[in-house]
Amino acid sequence: MRTVRLRYLPVALAALALVLPVTSLTDAQSKGTIKIATQSPLSGGQAALGEGIKLGTQLAIEKLKGPIEKLGFKVELVPFDDQAKPDVGVANAANVIADKDILVVVGHLNSGVAIPASEKYKEAQLAMISPANTNPTVTDRNYLNVSRVCGRDDVQGVVGAEFAKTTLKAKTAYVIHDKTTYGQGVAEFFKADAEKKGIKILGFEGTEEKSNFDPIITPMKAKNPDLIYFGGIYDQAAPFFKQAREKGVKATFMGPDGMDSSDLTKIAGKAVQGMYYTSVAGPVSVYPAAKEFAKQYKDKFKKDPEPFAAQAYDSTAIALKAIEAAIKASGGKVPSREQVSVAVRKTKHTGITGTIEFDEKGDPKKALYFVLQVASDDPGKWGDNKEVKRLSIAAPPLKKS
């Protein structure tokens, strides 16, 4: 068996040798291809948000690739499905690094995936621009290659607690989280600040349960809190809220930006009508410059942009600008990944969600935080959610340790 295989080896090599020059010839017609990767959950329970990130990026590349094409490069999108799982995200990251044409990653959706995956990107100094990751650790590691266009959970949690205290006048709260980096993180920030403001925390529970919340709801109902805060994502929060209302829990519901998807009302219906959530990404309607984007998105993909699609669009715009600058700086040649990472940090961009400028560690110098209220039990009307409050808050500076 072995001799047979070896006998064909030279033939195979010869065939390969014939094919290789041809492929490099076709490449030589343009100066090469530059790829932008997205990493977000495209399958599974959070696919609605993840797909929004991919489509936002796709639209941005189509609309804004002109300047780079003029310099002689093709621009391509390479979407990856991280399934909202850290292990999948990291495995994809290895593939992303291996493809030398990829100069920027736009993603992820989940902080718990972004943090380990960006350790991989750092090995190659590959720029990651995050449209959605709010956990402080994402940028607090002070990596040159990691930036984000959205706000942070240590601010978002405080914004939530502030709203609970001053507007909702909550005296007691019960906090649930999903035990992920993101969900537990924001829940802890909410809890800490709520306690500081004098709201009594009646319970703090983590759960990975996805369907049966009865045993958590029973003691919660008995303690009768004014407010229930769910640090997590809609695919888990929605059945929880639904079951809680069905079991007669009367508390006001609240959550962070993980609630921000029309799937929340699709699953929970009436139960979440009127609930509040904080967000780092307002609905497209709050950004005047995003109207045109929303129209183009709907024309092309036949659906309304999900939250973070506009942020992904802006992340990609920054990526394209930075790549263009880096190409020019390196004399028209393909820039190195590190050059692109440096250029991303220097980019100041006025996009559809406002003006974005990065601080030394990769946070936007000023980020918008919203408190929103779910307007209707009809998932088609998710875009009508009412903006109750809007704040522009600077990112906390890097703690020198």
């Binding site: 329970g45 696919a47 319970g203």
Partner: protein
């Protein structure tokens, strides 16, 4: 410690635990019956459970889209959905046995086990594929039927919804029906004979293959019923929903003494209650040091203890050793 609260929620937790326990019991029957007859674990059973849940949600969503959901009595609708879910799951289980297990009947015992795991993966992704093409959805939600959500309050902390009662009554009826079928009918006698000794049973004129198919049909139908009830009770399902309940039900079957039908029922109830009490009381009793997330650790620790002292499960001795 807040004793009035601890005592106040007791009946509600008991009820939650019973509902969960009945569901585990229904699923556990599928594991235990197949084990009783073939001595192998049908790991695809958790997907047979999920298929029942999906058939249920599809029928309900179709009825809702056609505007028929409000017209008929919800109990009638539920009965039809339950029967169709049972039928679909039962037939699927029979097909799986015919395609993936029967050709391996003579093989070493680990081989059909691997085949079962393969079928499990295949069915998960088949359901995912079909639903993503058909509805472009991953999570499906059982439509709300108002009558089923009516609640009767007994005390401040205990109230019972109609659908909880439906789940309990339906489970009890099915468990009783199965018990009667296996112990009081000729078919049941034949199944028991096959479980005891296939060769001798066939010499007595029993069609062994048909009895094995029947076992899969009944076990699968119970799983399908559990799937529909699960959907009605907890409302959200996705193609991977079956994994955890399947694992728990398998554990329940082992706890009760695998191969033993009353054992599976008892094991399911014990596990459901343990889990509900652990999840509700752990954080209250430890002042938040151990939260609800430790429920599985707690439940499984007790399980290990039970199995140390009764290695064959709670009702394990009733099963006779095979020759």
């Amino acid at each position: 410690m807040d004793f009035p609260l601890l005592i106040g929620i007791f009946p509600q937790v008991l009820l939650d635990g019973l509902i969960l326990g009945f569901m585990y019991a229904l699923i556990a029957l599928g594991y235990t019956m197949v084990y009783g007859v073939l001595e192998f674990i049908n790991f695809a059973h958790s997907e047979i459970f999920v298929v029942g849940a999906f058939v249920g949600v599809e029928i309900l969503l179709t009825l809702q889209a056609a505007g028929l959901l409000e017209i008929f009595s919800p109990f009638l609708v539920l009965l039809v959905v339950l029967l169709l879910g049972m039928l679909a799951s039962g037939l699927l289980a029979v097909t799986v046995e015919r395609v993936a297990y029967r050709p391996l009947r003579g093989a070493p015992r680990l081989i059909p086990l691997i085949s079962a795991i393969g079928v499990s993966f295949f069915l998960q992704d088949a359901v995912r594929l079909v639903e993503s093409i058909w509805r472009n959805a991953f999570n499906l939600v059982y439509p709300t039927m108002d009558t089923l959500n009516i609640r009767y309050s007994f005390t401040e902390t205990l109230d019972v919804s109609v659908k909880s009662l439906v789940v309990i009554v339906a489970s009890l009826l099915m468990l009783w029906g199965l018990h009667a079928l296996v112990n009081r009918t000729k078919i049941g006698k034949a199944i028991r004979a096959v479980a005891e000794d296939q060769a001798t049973a066939s010499l007595m004129g029993i069609n062994v293959n048909r009895m094995i198919s029947l076992t899969f049909l009944i076990g699968g139908a119970m799983g399908g019923a559990a799937g529909v009830l699960f959907g009605v009770q907890y409302s959200l399902i996705n193609p991977y929903t079956g994994f955890i309940p399947g694992l728990k039900a398998f554990t329940a079957a082992v706890l009760g003494g695998i191969g033993n039908i009353p054992g599976a029922m008892l094991g399911g109830l014990v596990l459901g209650l343990l889990e509900a009490f652990a999840a509700s009381y752990l954080s209250l009793l430890t002042g938040g040091a151990f939260g609800a997330e430790y429920k599985d650790i707690f439940a499984f620790s007790i399980l290990i203890l039970i199995l140390i002292f009764r290695p064959k499960g709670l009702l394990g001795e009733v099963v006779r050793e095979r020759a």
